[in-house]
């Protein structure tokens, strides 16, 4: 009996050892496979994460990586895409577990927070030795990633919020295309004309982006300077904003809200399906490629109605940063420089992640730009002229306030509470978040 039991113990240990050995040999096989590719130089693998709201985004990113790997055969990029709001969740978990990828694509709103928490590497040494080439670039384009006097990220390209419009539908409705300083009254008339002449919807409902632009055009902002309270005193701004929408909604000028809530990705939604003449939503100018592909025609670009002289602004589409934990910061710097400043990369991207701002790249792109890119470029320079500087990044409570806005907006537009009650509720609950929970 005794012996049999010892055999049992040995068998157990043996089983574990065999399994572990097998796992290890699988691991080895992996390493051998990658090592055999280039025998002379050791291959360095960099990880990167990026946000992708559509397949086109993934394809575009993959194409640039292929170009980079061609130019630098000893560097391999493993890219992971995450869609929707989950992107921020994933980044924060990676940050907490010290497993941020070498190259992090990071939004303006999170930039300062990550830099202050000491998670990112300052790029200044690489800018000084020109690994990252910022010669002749206006500092304003990278100002959003400047924290405590150090540069923590490189802007991929410039963007602006935009209201797209379907040129053919507007023509059919005998509506003149919107220009800068487009007024609410004109917009309302145009929505009605579209409805009456074509039987289609005018637009989707307004979003939080519209509200923020509307606040800006009134000389205030969503958050106050200290970011411990709301930045606007007068609730009439909120009430007017929602009363308008309720009026249009009752007239049937806007798509039904519950249909809009079904939208899952950028290819989806009433505008790319040709159901509305205007595409407000919260589109950014670089998303024009996706929409033109879906609609199979050129669309126009216009600033938001009621944006006035200060409402619109230029925003970096995303920044590329290097994680402090990266073991290959120099190679990562090569990559992020390639992404923004290499002419082949820029040609392949064709302003997909925003319009390039490096004068050398813009010059090189002149011949290859399509009409679409020229239109975007023209629109952005108009915004630069008419608009004002972007608001500071959101406070820590930002995501909670966004959720609160969405919830109360739906409550009003489903006509469960009045705009007045909604204004008071938003002010009360948002103030509570900002006072207690910001640091």
């Amino acid at each position: 009996m005794q012996r049999i039991r010892w055999i049992g113990v040995l068998a157990g240990i043996l089983l574990i050892a065999v399994l572990a050995g097998y796992g290890y040999s699988l691991d080895l096989k992996d390493k051998e496979a990658s090592a055999s590719r280039t025998s002379s130089e050791p291959v360095i693998t960099l990880r990167m994460t990026y946000w992708a709201g559509s397949q086109l985004t993934i394809d575009k990113n993959t194409a640039v990586i292929a170009l980079f790997e061609q130019a630098y055969p000893h560097i391999k990029i493993e890219a992971e895409s995450i869609s929707g709001e989950a992107y921020d969740d994933r980044l924060i978990v990676m940050a907490a577990t010290n497993s941020l990828p070498d190259v992090v694509r990071i939004d303006y709103s999170n930039m300062a927070r990550y830099a202050k928490k000491n998670l990112l590497l300052p790029l200044d040494p690489y800018i000084i030795d020109q690994t990252i080439d910022l010669e002749g670039v206006h500092p304003v384009y990278n100002a959003g990633a400047m924290v405590n006097g150090k540069q923590y990220g490189l802007n991929i390209g410039n963007n602006a919020l935009v209201m797209f419009y379907d040129k053919e539908l507007l023509e059919e409705a005998k509506v003149k295309p919107p220009t800068s300083h487009y007024s609410w009254e004109q917009y309302e008339n145009d929505l009605r004309a579209v409805k009456n002449q074509t039987g289609r919807y005018g637009d989707t409902h307004l979003t939080q982006q519209h509200f923020r632009v509307w606040l800006r055009s009134n000389g205030v902002s969503l958050y106050n300077e200290a970011q411990d309270g709301l930045g606007y005193e007068d609730d009439r701004l909120w009430i007017e904003f929602f009363t308008r929408q309720l009026r249009w909604q009752r007239e049937g000028l806007l798509t039904p809200l519950s249909q809009e809530l079904e939208t899952r990705n950028l290819e989806d939604g009433p505008f790319p399906r040709g159901q509305t003449a205007f595409g407000g939503y919260s589109y950014w100018s670089n998303q024009i490629d996706i929409l033109e592909k879906e609609l199979d025609k050129q669309v126009g670009l216009a600033p938001y109605p009621g944006a006035g002289g200060h409402g619109m602004f230029i925003k970096p589409s995303f920044f590329h940063s290097i994680a402090k934990s990266s073991k290959h910061p120099y190679e990562a710097a090569l990559f992020i420089n390639f992404y923004t400043n290499n002419l082949d990369a820029a040609k392949s991207l064709n302003a997909y992640f925003g319009v390039p701002y490096n004068p050398k790249v813009i010059k090189g792109l002149q011949e290859t730009f399509t009409d679409t890119q020229r239109n975007v470029l023209a629109y952005l320079s108009q915004v630069e002229k008419d608009g004002s500087l972007i608001d500071p990044p959101d406070p820590i409570a930002g995501p909670a306030i966004n959720q609160l806005y969405k919830s109360i907006s739906n409550e009003i537009l489903f006509e469960r509470i009045s705009p007045e009650a909604g204004a008071a509720k938003f002010r009360m609950e948002a103030s509570a978040w900002l006072e207690v929970k910001s640091d």
Partner: protein, 299 residues
């Protein structure tokens, strides 16, 4: 210290070693770490800061969304669990009758459960009951009713459509009921038949009491699963519109990972655990009143 020399002990532990490591590293440690976190203010990126019972206090006195999420979840559990169980029982009774092709039907009814939890099915559900979904066009072609709401995103129907999704996944409860029904001695039913008891009386007086241990089991599992509901709401509604489907666990996730209040989220997780324990204990307590164990009755 003789037990130390007992090879039985080593053999046993050697065999369960991988599992033990898993238990300690991946279950027990995180569980107790979250208990610690629930007494702290922790934003994931900075180190946790001890605040005692602050999170728990805030939850019950100063957080309307917490109350809302608790209400939504309770409503979901109290409506969906009884509905799903009665549906499962009804189908199980039908399948238990010796009809032609009942084994094919059995697999057929189990299909939704096989696919049940998967994201693809949830997305499909969203399309069936969307604004331009199959359900609305069915209503139009069959009854000529033009419905222009999205059952998933309209505030009055959103929770209902999620409950319907849960009822539709009745398969596993049905299989367990079916197994229970097969256990009921045919002699008892036959005896009642001879005595002239009509079908409904045989069902209520004989089948149900003999099935009560199985109902009890399904009820407990259903309640526990109901409180943990997450992916359906997360994928279909995201807790919206205006928090009408804000399930407890969705709010927990939002608080922890989106608003970065990991301490508060941990406290919510512990409150959920206690609530589920309490309710399960209540059901167990009540079981002496309605659950009938055959062996005891005979013994």
């Amino acid at each position: 210290m003789r037990w130390l020399r007992n090879p039985d002990l080593y053999a046993g532990y050697a065999f369960i070693l991988p599992w033990l490591i898993g238990l300690f590293v991946f279950s027990l440690f995180p569980i107790f770490f979250s208990l610690y976190l629930s007494f702290t203010d922790y934003d994931i990126l900075s180190s946790p800061e001890w605040i005692g019972l602050g999170n728990y206090k805030e939850m019950f006195t100063d957080d309307p969304r917490f109350v809302k999420s608790a209400k939504v979840t309770l409503l979901y559990v109290f409506v969906s669990v009884p509905l799903r169980l009665s549906f499962a029982l009804g189908i199980a009774v039908l399948l238990n009758m010796k009809l032609k092709g009942s084994s094919i039907l059995r697999s057929f009814y189990y299909l939704p459960t096989l696919m049940g939890g998967s994201v693809a099915v949830i997305v499909m559900w969203g399309q069936l009951f969307g604004m331009n979904g199959a359900f609305n066009s069915l209503l139009k072609s069959l009854f000529g009713i033009q419905v222009s709401i999205s059952w998933i995103t309209d505030p009055s129907t959103a929770l209902g459509s999620l409950i319907a999704l849960s009822v539709w996944q009745f398969g596993s409860a049905m299989l367990i009921f079916l197994a229970g029904l097969k256990q009921i001695p045919a002699s008892l039913i036959e005896a009642a038949k001879v005595d002239g008891a009509p079908a409904w009386q045989r069902f209520i007086r004989i089948t149900l009491p003999l099935l009560s241990p199985v109902i009890f089991f399904n009820l407990v599992m259903g309640i526990i699963g109901g409180f943990k509901v997450f992916s359906e709401g997360m994928i279909l509604t995201g807790g919206g519109p205006h928090d009408q489907t804000l399930f407890y666990v969705i709010y927990l996730y939002e608080t922890s990972f989106r608003f970065l209040h990991m301490g508060y989220g941990s406290a919510m997780a512990w409150v959920l655990l206690l609530a589920v324990c309490l309710l399960t204990a209540l059901v167990f307590r009540s079981s002496s009143l309605w659950v009938h164990y055959e062996s005891k009755g005979n013994g």
